[in-house]
């Protein structure tokens, strides 16, 4: 992706994703998951919420609440500040295509996970999995009857 394309897409404020794993503003270096600062809880939840498809802000909030049984409820400020940071880091992108205006409010912005975002989410999930495994090995985590870790 050349610089002109990046600049034009930034100006339009759509398709902000500069390409899978490519740092915004640079055209060559592939970003590694380790390049991104440690994920906050809100960012990881948003990544999870976008894991199975694009969503708008309110749908992300609802999905996060559903995934956590209502224990995590993102406020608008936390949600959009996280989205701002994630767009900058290239973890998510804004969808240029909108759903049918008959079905939804066309003023809503939809967000989707980028390839880089998927890799970062995967790395974070693996890190958490390793922690859970360590907790289980040390006898800190007692899984309920029938619970298992593969």
């Amino acid at each position: 992706m050349d610089t002109t394309t990046v600049k034009r897409s930034e100006k339009k404020n759509v398709n902000r994703e500069p390409g899978p794993g490519v740092e915004p503003g640079s055209s060559t270096r592939r970003q590694q998951p380790g390049d991104v600062p440690p994920l906050t809880s809100a960012v990881f939840h948003i990544l999870l919420a976008l894991g199975d498809g694009e969503r708008h802000g309110y749908a992300i909030m609802q999905e996060v609440a559903r995934l956590t049984d209502g224990h995590v409820q993102l406020g608008p400020g936390t949600l959009y500040r996280s989205i701002q940071r994630m767009l900058t880091d290239g973890l998510i992108g804004e969808c240029a295509e909108r759903p049918d205006p008959e079905l939804d409010d066309d003023r809503r912005r939809y967000y989707r996970l980028t390839d880089f975002g998927k890799r970062v989410a995967s790395a974070e999930a693996e890190r958490l999995f390793a922690l859970v495994t360590a907790a289980r090995n040390k006898g800190i985590l007692h899984l309920p009857q029938g619970g298992y870790i593969v």
Binding site: N13, G57, Y58, M61, Q73, G75, P76, G77, T78, L79, Y80, R81, I83, Q84, P101, E102, L103, D104, D105, D106, R107, R108, R109
Partner: protein, 258 residues
């Protein structure tokens, strides 16, 4: 377009009020996400109101206010740090504060009061903490060492330093360390405070607070001058504990008012 459904009045008013509150965020952020935030908040309110009426709506409001209180200052602070103009202003303020602090320190050592330099040191070290958090640690060490060193030198050379600097006690050194460490370790806190100030800069409450603070400062200044006239400084009894209370306790003003 989806069919427009009429929202309850409480939800409509909530959206309008929240749209006003969103102004607490930086213009850059607001321009990009403000409308979306209001829309999302409206959706939350409508869903909560439909689910459980006013109680649920109030719960949404409580969460939104907490969210706003947590994120708006952080966003403002982030904006402040990113803004080159504001950064230049901060860097310009540091030498000005240093110069002012130095001048008043000298003037105060030669005259009377130590409160002035302490407050100015607080301001200076806070600004230094903003600009150079690492350098301010060195500043704290220098400051901590310089006060007893100056007092020892004065005693050794037989210089007469008027009250209260005359008292060669580690108390003042300790007192001077407070702003130094505040500046060194309170950089993030000060940034947040500046964010709050900028966020509220144009609100009537902030303007009123500044005016009240100004009146209080003027009154306190006049009170100090009156006290100086009433009790010549050289004859005032020395009491470190009283000085500490007088410097740290704003209720002294209440006493003066009474």
């Amino acid at each position: 377009m989806p069919t427009a459904t009429r929202r309850p009045r409480a939800v409509d008013w909530s959206c309008r009020l929240y749209a006003l509150l969103v102004r607490a965020y930086s213009p850059h952020f607001r321009e990009r996400y403000g409308a979306e935030m209001v829309r999302v908040f409206g959706d939350c309110c409508a869903a909560a109101f439909q689910y459980d009426g006013t109680g649920a709506l109030l719960a949404v409001w409580a969460r939104a206010l907490l969210d706003l209180g947590r994120n708006a200052p952080a966003d403002r602070a982030q904006d402040l740090v990113r803004d080159p103009g504001a950064r230049r202003l901060l860097f310009a303020l540091v030498p000005v504060a240093l110069l002012l602090a130095a001048v008043i320190c000298v003037a105060d050592v030669l005259t009377v009061e130590i409160q002035g330099p302490v407050y100015l040191l607080l301001l200076f070290t806070a600004l230094l903490g903003l600009a150079h958090p690492r350098a301010v640690n060195l500043w704290a060490v220098v400051l901590g060492a310089s006060v007893p060193a100056t007092l020892t030198l004065a005693r050794w050379r037989g210089w007469h330093l008027p009250y209260p600097t005359d008292a060669s006690t580690p108390y003042y050194a300790l007192l001077a360390l407070v702003p130094a460490f505040l500046g060194a370790h309170g950089g993030a806190w000060v940034r947040r405070l500046l964010g709050h100030c900028r966020a509220n800069l144009r609100t009537p409450a902030f303007v009123l607070a500044v005016v009240l603070l100004g009146i209080v400062c003027c009154y306190q200044g006049v009170g100090v001058l009156d006290r100086k006239a009433e009790f010549p400084v050289a004859k005032m009894p020395y009491d470190p504990w009283h000085s500490l209370v007088r410097i740290m306790d704003p209720s002294a003003l209440v006493f003066r008012l009474s």
